[in-house]
């Protein structure tokens, strides 16, 4: 119970920080829009090509955006010298990760949902009839990105060239999530929509495995 109440307080702190600055959400959304635009003007896809490559592009844009967005998560604590205070304030260090993970997943999910109409418009795909299923995929995908993302943000904050280190550590680990989420999204956006359950299973498996690892090793990630 202490874990949950501690995490709730820390989550509120994360949300309030973002509410005051609105830095992460706006920059990430603009970044995703930029990727959409750059892709379209570089490859100039036809209608059928847009449908074919759209899901992959969508997730790639999310992945790159996330690898930039997650930098701030521990870097902010490091620059403000608040990590030790944060550690002392909770009885279970996992509460810190739990809160940051929840905040990151929420931020990612919000940006993705906000960007979805733009994607549908630019790439001419119909989304309304599969919206609940897409929401599920987005949630599992965001969680899959945020779990190792939060952990590696704590690692890269300790390294030199940390801005470059986080994508280097994160992107290879996220390949299975990228493949699975693209497969599932492509299945849903097809002319005859179908849920790819093995892809969904892989995403759930990935989330469970990495969440367990974070729970087991989280306290070591906070050592200074």
């Amino acid at each position: 119970m202490a874990l949950l109440s501690n995490a709730a307080v820390l989550l509120e702190k994360e949300l309030r920080t973002e509410y005051r600055s609105r830095e992460l959400l706006t920059t990430t959304a603009v970044f995703i829009l930029l990727v959409f635009m750059l892709f379209s003007i570089t490859f100039h896809p036809t209608g059928s090509e847009s449908q074919q490559f759209g899901p992959g592009l969508l997730w790639m844009a999310f992945l790159f955006a996330a690898s930039l967005m997650l930098q701030a998560c521990f870097l902010r604590e490091q620059t403000n010298d608040t990590l030790s205070a944060l550690r002392l304030s909770v009885s279970d260090p996992f509460a810190i990760f739990f809160a940051k993970l929840a905040a990151n997943t929420l931020f990612l999910l919000l940006t993705e949902l906000f960007m979805l109409p733009f994607f549908a418009g630019f790439f001419n795909v119909r989304i309304l009839h599969v919206l609940p299923q897409l929401f599920l995929v987005f949630f599992l995908g965001s969680l899959g990105i945020a779990i190792p993302g939060t952990a590696f943000s704590a690692i890269s904050a300790q390294a030199r060239m940390r801005e470059l280190m986080l994508p280097l550590l994160l992107l290879p680990v996220l390949t299975p999530v990228l493949i699975a989420s693209t497969e599932v999204t492509a299945g849903l956006l097809d002319v005859q929509p179908a849920m790819n359950y093995s892809g969904l299973g892989l995403m759930i498996g990935f989330d469970v495995v990495f969440l367990t690892a974070l729970w087991l090793f989280g306290e070591y990630l906070l050592e200074e």
Binding site: I155, L169, P172, V173, T175
Partner: protein, 225 residues
């Protein structure tokens, strides 16, 4: 020193013998022809790479829980040796694929994930070079190594879950799979020889890392005085 030179020479003889067996004793495969011979090296190297990454994972766990520098030395040695073996896998695979598939590389699930595995351990080594303080470097790279190793089962499961051009498992692939006895002998010997090579490289690299650590410590003592 003399002992390790003798060991290396014995191993070299064994590898030469297995190469001879693979080419002259094992029969030529019916559909792929002589290019299939590369499998002896490809599969044995993949096996050694996975064993090395397994050792790295064990060393990483051991470091996180015991904080012994020896575990860190073993971790970095295993990662480097594993990377060397996986490089052979990633080079020998395309040499086989060109005549059989008609292309050097396809982004199919298993190739991609093997490539990713190589990249993961490159990132592991890069991370080490980006953290100055030895204790921090050991701890954070060990933690990343643990997370990175969790991708290995995904490589395995991807064999059967995702669409793939890769040959289905032959040796333990279920009914209808199996090997000619002469092929099996050659495979097993190659496995043995490359596992020997893995052990040899690992011990040499471990010794080097131990020496590097003691030099670093001496330097720090000298600077403190």
């Amino acid at each position: 020193m003399v002992k390790s030179i003798i060991n290396a020479m014995i191993l070299f003889a064994l590898i030469a013998l297995t190469a001879y067996l693979a080419f002259h004793y094992a029969p030529i495969e019916k559909t792929m022809g002589v290019i299939q011979k590369i499998f002896y090296l490809h599969i044995a190297c993949a096996f050694s790479a996975f064993v090395a990454f397994g050792i790295c994972f064990y060393a990483n766990l051991r470091y996180v829980f015991t904080r012994q520098p020896k575990a860190d030395w073993l971790g970095v040695s295993a990662a480097e040796v594993g990377l060397a073996f996986i490089s052979v896998v990633l080079v020998s695979g395309p040499i086989w694929a060109k005549p059989v598939w008609g292309t050097w590389w396809v982004w199919d699930a298993r190739l991609t994930l093997t490539f990713v595995l190589g990249l993961l351990y490159v990132s592991y080594l890069l991370l080490r070079s980006m953290i100055e303080e030895p204790d921090k470097r050991a701890l954070f790279s060990a933690l990343f190594g643990i997370f990175a190793f969790l991708d290995v089962p995904l490589v395995y499961f991807s064999i059967r879950w995702w669409r793939t051009q890769h040959p289905q498992p032959v040796i333990l692939g279920g009914p209808g799979s199996g090997l000619d006895p002469r092929m099996r002998v050659s495979y097993l010997l190659m496995w043995g020889a490359l596992t020997g090579l893995l052990i040899l490289l690992l011990t040499a690299r471990y010794r080097l890392e131990a020496m590097r650590a003691s030099v670093e410590e001496l330097r720090r003592e000298a600077e403190a005085q």
